[in-house]
Symmetry: C2
Subunit: 158 residues, 2 copies
């Protein structure tokens, strides 16, 4: 799985600590976690396209949550980076080769694919049950405040 998922989740959680309407800049986020500033832009852009974040330019601009933290699931963030498509892709190899099954015999989905899709659904269900607000509460209060202060620019040094 892509490493960008970890970056995106941490960034979204940190942005959730800011009061509504306030934005945190890409550079601040990158410095906070020691990430590549330019590369982080790519992932944040994906989050904007997916409707998780909203971007604004100019001074005091940056990224902010598109909705309340309670209304954003972890799954949404993950799918914004990894893509919403299923991880397993059935290429219907039963319809190929010397003993290929005719399309008429393949009205039922491939049993192999069914199992993989079921596991994929279980994975998504698990991620859908946790929101960004849930995640944010599990961070020690000290770091919640420290993150918000750094994002606002109030905090110069840790």
């Amino acid at each position: 799985m892509s490493q960008g998922v970890e970056w995106a989740l941490h960034c979204v959680v940190n942005l959730s600590y800011l009061e509504s309407g306030r934005s945190g800049s890409r550079t601040r986020l990158a410095e906070y976690y020691g990430l590549s500033d330019a590369y982080l832009a790519k992932h944040l852009k994906s989050l904007v396209r997916a409707g998780v974040l909203v971007a604004s330019t100019g001074p005091q601009g940056g990224f902010r949550l598109a909705r309340a933290p309670e209304d954003i699931t972890v799954l949404e963030v993950v799918e914004a980076i990894e893509g919403a498509g299923p991880s397993f892709l059935c290429t219907e190899i039963r319809q190929q080769g010397v003993c290929a099954a005719p399309p008429a015999a393949c009205r039922r989905a491939c049993p192999v694919a069914k199992v993989m899709y079921a596991a994929d659904a279980a994975w998504r269900d698990s991620l859908r049950q946790v929101t960004i607000a849930d995640l944010g509460r599990r961070v020690p209060k000290t770091y919640q405040k420290r993150g918000a202060d750094w994002m606002r620019g109030t905090l110069v040094r840790p």
Copy 2:
């Protein structure tokens, strides 16, 4: 996810139709599904290393199941190809950057990682509950027999 997972699962299911002690050759498997013969070798080798299949050389040789189909889970086959490690890898970015948390404050696992690991566990549980025998039964009997016949060399043309 790697495409080899689909190949491996179909091949293992097809080998499960052979009577105990009998092997199916790599070439036969590749022709049956229209796959690349040389590349399939790589995946079958992974299955041998993982203890799912047993290989034997020489005429009448090939691959056979290392255990009964009821004792091989889908998860084992998937992990043989994809690797047993978790799909999500926490790099502890909370311990990096200007506001890095000291190691002493990180005795608890990262909340982000916890959620991802839980989803990973759900995915694995789902795959662990299905065996190769289960999967084999879900294929129409006609194709079960056709696959076995082709593996034995009895069947020349579909």
